[in-house]
């Protein structure tokens, strides 16, 4: 059942993105920003976590889930360490993803050549 919800919710979030691509002139960079900020806001007010609890990876894998993680991390760090958490919480919670992207991209740059289409 969890898998079905992950499929449906994850697919639905992607459809919102597709509609933005096709119906507006927004570039993909802008759409990614829109999604991450939407994730932060929904995470900030506590709505998005319900979606994650319900749909699992269907809500956490889309980039909105990254935004939610930023918001969640900030709130948890404030609870734990006080005011400094405002600055440190977001990146702490998302560090694994960002570091993986940086290190693996660097490795890819070492190994691969761009290809013609």
């Amino acid at each position: 059942m969890q898998y079905l919800w992950a499929f449906l919710v994850g697919g639905a979030i992607c459809v919102i993105g597709q509609l933005l691509i096709d119906k507006t002139k927004l570039t993909s960079a802008r759409i990614l920003v829109f999604f991450v900020v939407a994730g932060v806001i929904l995470g900030g007010v506590g709505v998005y976590q319900h979606l994650v609890d319900f749909a699992g990876a269907g809500a956490s894998v889309p980039i909105t889930g990254f935004g939610n993680l930023l918001a969640k991390g900030v709130k948890e760090e404030i609870d734990r360490a006080g005011v400094i958490g405002i600055l440190t919480g977001g990146l702490k919670a998302t560090a694994a993803g960002i570091m993986a992207a940086v290190v693996l991209s660097f490795a890819a740059a070492l190994i691969f050549q761009p290809k013609s289409k």
């Binding site: 994850g10 759409i31 990614l32 900020v37 894998v61 404030i78 993986a100 693996l104």
Partner: protein
């Protein structure tokens, strides 16, 4: 010569629109499938004893790894060309946005090419994601008090 307004109308009439419905179906299926893959990875990591947060991080890292490998082999852009937001909205799209410029700009060297240009597309995601998380944090902090 015809007027700008008249010409704009002609352009709108003759420029084909993206086939939104078909695109949405493809985005739905591929996006859903990537999330199901994420869900099964999550179950696997949990099975091997990872805690909730750790399993979540491992899922993200695995998907990022797959996306960057596919980017290196020159496949990922074909997947996006087919599935659109279905592949670019999940974390895989973020990973591709970091890896693609890193590979492309290595011709300009490892400092000013790879290093400086790695975030030309994905940079805004980090900038606006972290800034908005700070704002959310500040509000949370003062509401709590």
């Amino acid at each position: 010569m015809i007027s700008q307004q008249e010409y704009q109308k002609m352009v709108q009439k003759s420029s084909p629109k993206s086939t939104t419905f078909k695109n949405c179906v493809k985005a739905f299926v591929v996006g859903g499938a990537i999330c199901v893959l994420g869900q099964s990875l999550y179950a696997m990591y949990e099975h091997f004893g990872a805690q909730k947060d750790l399993a979540g991080s491992l899922v993200a890292i695995t998907l990022i790894f797959i996306a960057i490998a596919l980017t290196g082999f020159g496949v990922f852009d074909n997947i996006v060309n087919f599935a659109g937001a279905g592949a670019s909205v999940p974390i895989t799209g973020f990973a591709n946005a970091v890896a693609a410029p890193a590979i492309e700009f290595k011709k300009e060297g490892f400092i000013l090419g790879v290093g400086a240009k790695m975030f030309i597309i994905a940079g805004p995601v980090i900038v606006y994601g972290t800034i908005s998380s700070m704002i959310v944090g500040a509000i949370y902090y003062f509401v709590q008090k």
